[in-house]
């Protein structure tokens, strides 16, 4: 018996090493932190296409947007270190990972290679009064803290670059964050802001409107030879680049790591890849593991410095309201019981509407309470993170009170129907989303469909099973196979 077990163990070891030698023997996922269509996503898709041709296995891009990129990072961190989840790793990750307490850090990843870089640059409107770096500096010195600089996001790579430039050039200016690069560029084209911080390729196709005031690289850019460098103006900014590379979770088998690095190297010399790089305007490079890692940690240090200069708390959690959830529940309970007594005393017709208004009022109060702990507005501004939520909360409280005041005139036209049946279905749905992570999306959906049709009293069992099977097949075919949505597959598949 013991022999048998040992034999089994030995065999499984052999088969395991056999498997890892055969890497990759199933599709490899490339996790991207943006929605489809972003610059990083396009790079990952182009890489996936070429890598798939080279290695016989398909490489599938999986978008995990959200949490300012941290969800994608967490996704790879929570997967096995087996080399089947590669993370597209742009410089944009540095700041969010430093300002949030997520339980892991940059040191938990193995950096494979960096494939593209692009120097940071400042871009101005060709027809504006302030367009050259000299003009920018003169205006900023004459009008401290009035010049408007913009770019995507707050605490982003470009924001920190702006802070760095102000620091090195000895000027002060305002940072106006936008939801993305596009709207920020549009704001400079429409002369709403003076300077856009981005990369030289941002002006491609818009050279009639925009001009590069300065580039943070040691020499002039080969594609944009007209654009001066910061160095030419005596400002020491020569190595600020936005890089995009790939990483895997730390602890991945070294053989797999070297396989992937080799693969990345082959892709980086592929003619299709080179054509793609040329079109996007960035520079194609191949910076291998140690060197790439060094670059990541060097830029992380710089990021930390300028994050604190920009007023962000690095490494420590911002203050939050104590026990927010409890506060909400208690508020709802108190207000509901007050309403309950009031209705009983006045003898108003029984209805749910006053309670809905009560919950609205409670949410308004709770949101005001929680937002009181938000950071105070920065110097020179009157409006902070708490202002707008509090205005909306005031609006909600006002409307809720108005509903309570008008109770008699608001008719409750609808009569309650089959509420127990609805609650039964809601119960099934809760069970459904709960078991998805255990048995997978498709089996769970299959059971939900059957249970749902049964409680809605569809008589024909054959129809129920047939329809459910067809729906599952449709989902599997269209969503899983064609659209490559990575549905959770659970423990059985």
């Amino acid at each position: 018996m013991i022999k048998k077990i040992l034999y089994c163990i030995a065999f499984s070891f052999i088969s395991f090493s056999f498997l890892s030698a055969e890497y990759p023997d199933k599709p490899v996922k490339i996790i991207v932190h943006t929605k489809p269509g972003g610059a990083v996503d396009l790079m990952a898709r182009q890489f996936a296409q070429i890598a798939g041709q080279i290695s016989d296995q398909s490489f599938v891009v999986v978008n995990k947007p959200g949490g300012s990129g941290l969800l994608a990072l967490a996704n790879v961190y929570n997967e096995k270190a087996d080399g089947y989840s590669i993370l597209a790793f742009p410089a944009a990750y540095l700041a969010p990972i430093q300002t949030t307490n997520i339980g892991f850090g940059l040191e938990d990843f193995e950096y494979l290679a960096c494939l593209t870089i692009s120097p940071e640059a400042i871009i101005t409107n060709r027809y504006a009064d302030i367009k050259s770096l000299d003009q920018i500096l003169d205006f900023a010195k004459a009008h401290p803290n009035e010049q408007k600089w913009c770019g995507p996001g707050s605490g982003s790579l470009d924001h920190l670059m702006a802070v760095k430039i102000w620091d090195k050039a000895g000027i002060t200016a305002k940072w106006i964050p936008y939801g993305g690069g596009g709207p920020a560029i549009a704001s400079v084209m429409g002369k709403h802001n003076h300077v856009y911080v981005g990369n030289p390729e941002d002006i491609i196709g818009r050279k009639e409107n925009l001009t590069i005031a300065a580039i943070a690289s040691p020499e002039r850019h080969p594609t944009f030879p007209d654009a001066p460098t910061f160095k030419e103006f005596g400002i020491d900014l020569t190595s600020d680049v936005m890089w995009r590379g790939f990483a895997v979770k730390k602890g991945t088998n070294p053989e797999i790591v070297s396989y992937l690095i080799e693969l990345l190297k082959t892709v980086s010399t592929d003619p299709t890849w080179k054509q793609f790089i040329k079109t996007t305007g960035v520079q194609g490079v191949f910076i291998q593991d140690d060197e790439f890692q060094e670059m990541v940690f060097r830029d992380a240090e710089s990021s930390k410095t300028y994050l604190s200069k920009a007023g962000f708390s690095v490494g420590k959690e911002p203050p939050t309201a104590p026990m927010p959830v409890l506060f909400i529940i208690v508020t709802i309970l108190i207000i509901s019981s007050v309403i309950f007594y009031y209705i009983k005393k006045k003898g108003i017709e029984k209805s749910n509407i006053p309670f809905i208004a009560g919950v609205g009022l409670s949410i308004a109060i709770s949101f005001t309470y929680i937002s009181n702990y938000f950071p105070v507005p920065r110097e020179g501004t009157t409006v902070g993170a708490a202002t707008v939520p509090q205005v909306w909360a005031l609006f909600l409280a006002f409307v809720s009170l108005l509903i309570l005041y008008q109770l008699k005139t608001l008719s409750n036209s609808s009569k309650p129907g089959q509420v127990p049946l609805v609650l039964k279905l809601v119960g099934i749905l809760f069970g459904y989303v709960f078991i998805i992570s255990f048995i997978g999306f498709l089996p769970a959906t299959f059971f939900m469909l059957i249970a749902g049709m049964m409680i809605l009293k569809h008589g024909n069992i054959k129809t129920i099973f047939l329809t459910s099977a067809v729906v599952i097949l449709f989902m599997y075919g269209i969503f899983y196979k064609v659209l490559q949505v990575p549905l959770p597959m659970g423990m059985f598949f």
Partner: protein, 503 residues
């Protein structure tokens, strides 16, 4: 006249060139339209996702063919979204929410064919209006679009919000309650100016706020299903037969003004980057109701209420191509994907495109009317299928819609959290609706809330003073419009009441 010569060369390019066989453009347009309608119909699949998934298929194509293919997908998505809005009260796109209000109501009366037909025709006419405006007025419109700075965007958002007042005249207080709730929900997530996490309760998933599409699917699809189950005995449906009868020509003729006004509003508002189809659809709906002789019918299956937002949604697609082509600025998530896709084909959108690659631009223009003609055909054939589908027994249909709603919610960001969001908003939608609280204002508030706050704070940060909202002419004009759209309905009603009490 150069324009016409260019257009002619664009059309001829679609009939084949040395490198493109004659059958290819037409085939590609038809496939693109079909995919687009499918993507629009599936809740959770947005135009941007659909486009991004199709980009790899275009790698081997001629750039012209690739663009025509992608544009066909893009333009037909809006129509796909209105189909489910009308058929099962599940708007496939946010803009379709405005169509759902009257469209679904007509379906409940047993006339889905009339609603779908009106929406299709209005969408097609809107699409034509939009493409004409795109062809002839791209550059002047793009100049106006650039004038929109933070103050003007803020005022536009406020104007959009005031439409709630005219949209819901019966339950105005309840509608404002939904609006306020939606506005507050939209403040969840990292605040754009300070990057401070607000109301996230320590969950990283909430950093970017509630995902909009899962919330929309929950509020409408799931909320509607739960309400349906509550009100229905499961055996007897209120309407036993659904008619696929299309609207009569005379009916369409009487709403022609709404269609053209909706089309014009759609093309203009759609051209403003960031504002997009949703505002256009709601503004068109509000305007149709304001100018209607029969405003009481709105919300109860008014053809005008279907036609105006459908036309606006159809036209806004053309409008959103204006900033894309003339400035290289994406006006929406979908156009952002288009820019990426074009880049892969060595084409960078922007002012230089018109001089460097004129034939391509005009072939794109020429493909719009052809695509619209195909859409009319496919949409017409599809109407009968849709009507058949919704006539399926509810006990089977409803769980299937739930399954598709959940898989759609998951597909938006590939995360289970969005499925929970969908379920949560579904229950919220049911509770609100069964007590007479409309949910469409919440959707509008969720879209405009973020826009209002971001631009409000950007404007204050940039200008440092509150007066900028009144000194900027565009902003002031929009604020006056907002004021009027808020108080005119109230004033009118008061007058009506006085008249009635005098009688």
């Amino acid at each position: 006249m150069e324009l016409f010569a260019n257009l002619l060369s664009g059309f001829s390019a679609l009939l084949g060139t040395e490198t493109i066989p004659w059958w290819q453009p037409g085939t590609v347009i038809m496939i693109g339209i079909t995919i687009g309608i499918f993507v629009g119909v599936m809740p959770g699949l947005s135009a941007s996702t659909g486009l991004a998934l199709m980009v790899p298929f275009t790698f081997g194509m001629d750039p012209l063919i690739a663009i025509v293919f992608l544009v066909s997908i893009y333009t037909s998505c809006a129509y796909g979204g209105t189909i489910t809005a009308i058929a099962i009260n599940t708007p496939g796109t946010p803009a379709a929410v405005a169509v759902a209000m009257d469209g679904y109501s007509l379906t409940q009366q047993g006339q889905p064919g009339r609603a779908l037909g009106t929406s299709l025709l209005a969408n097609v006419m809107g699409g034509i209006t939009g493409s004409l405006i795109l062809i002839f007025f791209s550059f002047p419109i793009s100049k106006v679009a650039l004038k929109f700075g933070p103050p003007a965007f803020f005022s536009l958002a406020i104007f959009g919000l005031t439409i709630v007042a005219s949209m819901e005249s019966k339950n105005r207080t309840k509608a404002f309650f939904s609006t306020a709730l939606g506005l507050l929900f939209m403040t969840v997530g990292l605040d754009i100016i300070n990057a401070h996490p607000r109301f996230t309760f320590g969950r990283t998933e909430l950093f970017d706020g509630f995902s909009f599409i899962p919330a929309l699917i929950g509020l409408f699809a799931l909320g509607e299903i739960l309400l349906n189950i509550e009100k229905d005995t499961g055996v007897k449906t209120a309407v036993k037969t659904f008619s696929s009868k299309l609207p009569k020509f005379s009916e369409i003729w009487t709403i022609r003004k709404n269609i053209f006004k909706g089309g014009a509003i759609g093309a203009l508002v759609g051209a403003i980057p960031g504002a997009g189809a949703t505002i256009a659809a709601f503004v068109a709906y509000g305007e149709a109701k304001r100018s209607s002789k029969d405003p009481d019918k709105f919300g109860k299956g008014s053809l005008e209420g279907i036609a105006a937002p459908s036309a606006a949604a159809g036209a806004s697609e053309g409008g959103a191509l204006v900033p894309l082509l003339t400035l290289g600025i994406p006006g929406s998530a979908a156009t952002a994907v288009m820019i990426g896709a074009l880049t892969l084909h060595n084409i960078t959108p922007g002012p230089e495109l018109f001089s460097n690659n004129a034939q391509l631009v005009y072939a794109l223009f020429a493909s719009l009317p052809i695509g619209i003609a195909f859409m009319l055909l496919i949409g017409y054939l599809g109407t009968k299928i849709w009507v058949k589908l919704i006539a399926a027994p509810k006990a089977v249909l409803l769980p299937v819609i739930i399954a598709i709603a959940f898989v759609g919610s998951y597909a938006v960001k590939n995360t289970m959290f969005d499925v929970y969001v969908c379920l949560g908003f579904g229950i919220l939608g049911w509770v609100l609706r069964r007590n007479g609280f409309p949910t469409a204002p919440m959707v509008l508030a969720m879209i405009l809330g973020k826009m209002a706050e971001t631009n409000f704070r950007q404007a204050l940060l940039a200008e440092g003073t509150w007066t900028v909202f009144f000194t900027n002419p565009l902003s002031l004009g929009l604020l006056i419009l907002a004021f009027l759209s808020l108080f005119i309905p109230l004033y009118k009603e008061k007058k009506m009441k006085e008249l009635k009490s005098n009688l």
